[in-house]
């Protein structure tokens, strides 16, 4: 049962929409190994495997799909690495990045969800696409204190309200 007094912990959980940032879909349709090598050379780090992230100060790559990476930040070095094996397409206008911060973000994401966000199943550095309250969202476990949710812009306000409403339940 919920006991009075839990409001103290919930105060520590916040949901903040981050400012718009350049986001691209990087898709590779042929010669994936060769492209991966070229990309690694250009970026200085390897393309992350499924449901993982990798990056440096300028660019973060998040893998949510078998053939597509979400690129956050600078893509200038990538264009030349793809040739006829892949393409970059801008998508940032359609995504709102929401930062769920505080010790209870994993619990918050279980509300209306179906995906196991426990540290064992979804460790720091992992990414996952799932559905929360009927909305398709993509998650990136940044740290034990924060997760970034990539939410379709049109649903961002609805989902924000949904999460705000659920805050009183956290830590129960």
């Amino acid at each position: 049962m919920i006991l009075p007094g839990n409001a103290i912990v919930t105060d520590a959980t916040s949901i903040i929409a981050l400012p718009a940032a350049p986001l691209h879909a990087l898709e590779i349709w042929s010669n994936p190994e060769a492209v991966a090598k070229r990309v690694q050379k250009a970026l200085g780090f390897a393309l992350p495997p499924m449901n993982r992230s990798a990056g440096n100060a300028a660019t973060t790559l998040l893998r949510f799909e078998p053939t597509v990476w979400l690129v956050e930040g600078d893509t200038s070095v990538l264009a030349d690495t793809l040739g006829d094996d892949g393409a970059l397409t801008a998508i940032g206008g359609g995504v709102v990045r929401m930062r769920l911060a505080g010790p209870h973000w994993r619990e918050l994401l279980l509300e209306g969800g179906v995906f196991d966000t426990s540290a064992a199943a979804f460790p720091v550095g992992a990414t996952a696409a799932t559905i929360i309250d009927h909305v398709g969202v993509r998650l990136h476990a940044q740290s034990d204190e924060a997760c970034i949710a990539y939410v379709p812009s049109s649903y961002a306000e609805g989902l924000h309200h949904f999460w705000e409403a659920a805050l009183p339940l956290l830590g129960a």
């Binding site: 006829d84 397409t89 359609g94």
Partner: protein, 921 residues
């Protein structure tokens, strides 16, 4: 009946009301315990005959003591008094009685009972259906139980995902042990208990070797999650379970606004420690207040320190009831007789007379309890003065979840019970449900007519006999004919009693007689909980367009379109929708207007095989487009029917933009993905959904080109041309496409920068005398131009030819739908074709039927109606049988539901600038 024993600890610190009278209760009391402590035995009325009913059990299986708890939007009708814990200020009200619980007029139905046996309603009330409706109104008012609230629910309900290695259901001795063992082995454990206190049978029969509180603390210390007041209500495929957790008692104001929580749990393994439910005993008037299950009596005495009766008869066919005798004697009650149906039994407590080969035959009662119990002992009748009878007809393992999981049951002859057997899921049953105490079959001793089996639905042994006599012999027929097991207790106390009667009738064993299946939920579940957050929005969030806030400033009329909301019109000076939209359309025809088209489906297709993919999806040729050019296209389903339309633009050598309709955008995204990844994984291309990435702004009208030229500082592309540009300092795509029939452009801009672009175009357009326009004006413009719209003329039943698009089909074929289109009926005469209609008198009712004369079956219907924007006069688009060949014919549009009618002439659907001269430079 009962005086409270209640000495020792605890004080009556909680006030609550029942039927308006204030009573006191102790913390931890169920409403049933509190009522008994206050000497109240009459709690409710039965469903059919309105017989007086009391408290029969101490748990979720209670069939009789149903009350409404709470008020207003929080009122919960049909709440089991045995399954609600009293809280300060609780308001409980009895149900299904008028004018009062003790004087219920409808109890006269009991007098008519001989005529109202099982299924009586199938045999009478004949005549026209309308007459039945009248009888039915009376029956409906008499039936039902509590009243539904009439107000909206003020509380929220949470739905939460849960995951664990081991889920243990039930915190009795077996459940506690299993949960602790699993936790000690390093598994993540969830332990759920429907009661507010852990312990299960330990609360009634304490075991010094097991302290529930200590074990719970150990489980928690090992990281286990313990959920009290939580019922595992559904066991679904692949070890998925739904748990319902009460965060506040029925009717109570929840601490944080959430009344209950629904857990969606995926468990590695499930351990069911669900225990037993005691079986009642059929005898005459066995439904009267003062007839109680033996273990329930023991619970009230031991757990709640309430004495439900002072002079008690115990009737049993097993050893367990002897423990009840012990408890009663300890508590100072007089056990006037222990009737044991068996020839022998264990030793009884001192002072208790045991009668063997003894069965209860009938009871008589008074308001809150019994007066007399009559038994058949050895073959002769004997009566006892008693205010309570504690009965035990054996035990039924709680195998509901096991069966929901697909598990089998095996028959245990000794216990006359079905025991959980094999299951196809990772699930096992432990504890007493596997080992019910021996309890032999006993033939009922009382009159069948008043020996109730299903208490709540007033089904007696006689009803079962009648169903059998009339041929309703399969257990499912029996259940449906008599309504047995269909009440809110779902047959928890009645199923086995009924099944043994059926077996007796069939002269077969119980397992041969059959078994009904258990389906979720285990106990009834609040609808608001199942709705969750969706109770407020039907599970459908509103989708906001990027410029929602900007439009809001103009206070537009909003129009829902799927889950989106778009401005329908921007009225000024108190204009109506019709006035505003006509003004906006006129502005577009004469000056220029701008409109938000952000919700259009948009897909970027890139790669060497991009054109090949588009040629597959689009039914028109698109592969030969020059860079910087676009064209109108449409897409067919595999059966050849048009399902969407849009445009395709070649942005660069290997990069295309495809647009599609708003309503079909999600479907198109799935279709494209299927075609690209499933049908043609060999293609070298990428399809990216950019619907939300780009906001879209349409600029249309004779001044549109000049306005745009001034904004981008260069000549915009000619009709069906594409060019990148910079507008208000923001990079944009300019697509010269016209939907309105005027020279027009779509400006696509990254959504996060759309406001600046809209404001710049808006200012420049207004400066020219133009204005923004909404969906309604767009509709007027496109109807006049004869453009089809998905969901209107593109109705999911029309071919390209039907819609006048046949000429644009890719002659080479190879597109999806080409094969389907060859089917003969798709080119047979009599198909509905797109036509225009011009009214010869008044407005044309949209959706109206096209007929030649009154009384005739329709030959078509109006898909969209409008007024001509500059010339005036009513026009419409319609789908008409063989319409292509009927231009010039006069018909009637008839709308009987609206009492409207118009005479019309069939024309071409292109009313405005059919040659397309206005948008060409």
């Amino acid at each position: 009946m009962s005086g409270p024993m209640r000495p020792a600890t605890g004080e009556e610190t909680i006030s609550f009301t029942f039927d308006g009278t204030t009573y006191q209760a102790r913390p931890g009391d169920t409403l049933a315990a509190a009522l008994l402590a206050n000497g109240i035995g009459l709690v409710g009325r039965s469903f059919k005959y309105h017989r007086p009913r009391g408290i029969m059990t101490a748990g979720i299986e209670e069939p009789n003591a149903l009350v409404t708890v709470g008020t207003g939007g929080r009122a919960e009708p049909n709440t089991r008094a045995t399954d609600v814990f009293v809280y300060p200020g609780m308001v409980a009200t009895s149900q299904n009685r008028w004018p009062s619980l003790s004087l219920d007029v409808a109890s006269i139905f009991g007098l008519a009972a001989p005529a109202l046996g099982a299924g009586f309603y199938y045999k009478t009330f004949f005549g026209p259906a309308k007459h039945w409706l009248r009888y039915e109104g009376f029956i409906r008012r008499a039936a039902g139980l509590g009243n539904a609230p009439t107000e909206a629910d003020p509380d929220n309900f949470s739905q939460t995902a849960g995951f664990c290695d081991v889920l243990v259901v039930g915190s009795g001795p077996a459940g506690l042990k299993a949960a602790l063992e699993a936790a000690e082995a390093g598994s993540s454990v969830m332990l759920v208990e429907q009661d507010a206190a852990p312990g299960g049978s330990l609360l009634r029969d304490p075991d010094p070797a097991m302290d529930p509180a200590v074990m719970i603390a150990q489980i928690k210390a090992l990281g286990g999650k313990v959920l009290l007041r939580t019922t595992a209500s559904g066991y679904w495929d692949h070890n998925f379970l739904t748990l319902t957790q009460r965060l506040a008692e029925p009717g109570a104001v929840p601490t944080h606004g959430f009344a209950q929580r629904l857990w969606h749990v995926r468990a590695g393994r499930v351990i069911l420690a669900t225990g037993l439910i005691e079986r009642p005993v059929p005898f005459a008037n066995n439904d009267h207040p003062g007839v109680m299950l033996s273990q329930a009596v023991r619970s009230y005495v031991r757990r709640w320190r309430v004495l439900p009766g002072k002079r008690v008869v115990i009737a049993t066919n097993n050893d367990d009831a002897y423990l009840t005798a012990e408890a009663l004697v300890e508590a100072g009650a007089e056990v006037v007789a222990l009737l044991d149906a068996r020839a022998s039994g264990p030793a009884a407590p001192a002072g208790v007379t045991v009668h063997h080969d003894a069965r209860p035959a009938s009871v008589t009662g008074r308001k809150h309890g019994l007066r007399k119990v009559t038994a058949v002992i050895g073959g002769s009748e004997q009566s006892f003065d008693a205010d309570l009878i504690a009965v035990s007809g054996g035990f039924v393992p709680v195998s509901h979840l096991h069966m929901q999981a697909g598990g089998k049951l095996t028959w245990n002859e000794e216990a006359q019970a079905f025991i959980p057997g094999e299951t196809p899921q990772a699930c096992e049953t432990v504890g007493s449900a596997l080992n019910p105490p021996p309890a032999p079959a006993v033939a009922p001793a009382g009159k069948a007519k008043k020996s109730f089996v299903d208490f709540q639905n007033d089904v007696s042994l006689a009803d079962i006999d009648l169903a059998w006599q009339e041929g309703y012999r399969s257990v499912e027929h029996l259940k449906r004919y008599t309504t047995l097991g269909m009440a809110t207790d779902q047959g928890k106390t009645s199923n086995m009693v009924a099944l043994s009667r059926l077996a007796e009738k069939q002269r077969v064993t119980v397992p041969e007689a059959g078994l009904t299946t258990f389906r979720p939920p285990f106990t009834p579940v609040t609808m608001g909980l199942l709705a969750g957050a969706g109770a407020r929005n039907a599970g459908a969030h509103v989708r906001r367009i990027p410029l929602h806030g900007l439009h809001e400033k103009h206070d537009p009329i909003w129009q829902p379109l799927g889950y989106w909301f778009r401005p329908r019109a921007y009225p000024v000076n108190g204009e109506s929708l019709a006035e505003a939209s006509m003004r906006e359309a006129r502005t577009v025809r004469t000056v220029a207007g701008l409109s938000d088209v952000s919700t259009l489906g948009k897909f970027e297709v890139s790669g060497p095989d991009a054109a090949a993919l588009l040629e597959l999806v689009c039914a028109t040729t698109v592969g030969k487009l020059a860079i910087g050019r676009g064209r109108y296209t449409f897409m067919c389903r595999e059966d050849g029917i048009v399902f969407d339309d849009g445009t395709v633009w070649r942005l660069a050598e290997n990069r295309y933009l495809m647009t599609s309709s708003t309503g079909g955008a999600d479907r198109m995204a799935g279709h494209l993905s299927y075609v690209r990844n499933s049908l043609r994984p060999d293609l070298k291309c990428s399809v990216v959904n950019v619907q939300e990435h780009y906001a879209g702004i349409a600029l249309a009208g004779p001044r549109a080109r000049a306005i745009l030229a001034s904004l981008i500082g260069s000549e915009p592309p000619r009709h069906m041309g594409y060019a990148p540009a910079t507008l208000a300092g923001v990079p944009v795509h300019v697509l010269a496409a016209s939907y309105s029939g005027e020279r027009a452009f779509e400006i696509h801009v990254e959504a996060s920068h759309a406001a600046a672009v809209w404001q710049a175009i808006d200012a420049a357009t207004r400066a020219e005398g133009g204005a923004p326009y909404g969906l309604e004006a767009m509709e007027l413009l496109r109807i006049e131009k004869g453009h089809v719209v998905v969901g209107g003329e593109v109705d999911g039943r029309s071919t390209p030819h039907d819609l006048g698009l046949g000429g644009m089909l890719n002659k080479a074929g190879g597109f999806i739908g080409a094969a389907g289109l060859t089917r003969p009926a798709l080119s047979a005469p009599g198909r509905n074709n797109l036509v225009g209609l011009v009214s010869l008198d008044g407005p044309i009712p949209e959706g109206g039927m096209l007929i030649q004369r009154a009384g005739q079956s329709p030959q078509g219907h109006v898909t969209a109606a409008a007024r001509r924007i500059l010339e005036g006069g009513a026009i419409a688009l319609a789908l008409l049988e063989d319409g292509h060949k009927r231009h010039g014919e006069e018909l009637i549009v008839s709308s009987p539901t609206r009492g409207e009618k118009a005479r019309v002439r069939v024309t071409s659907p292109h009313f405005y600038d059919p040659a397309g001269e206005r948008y060409r430079d």
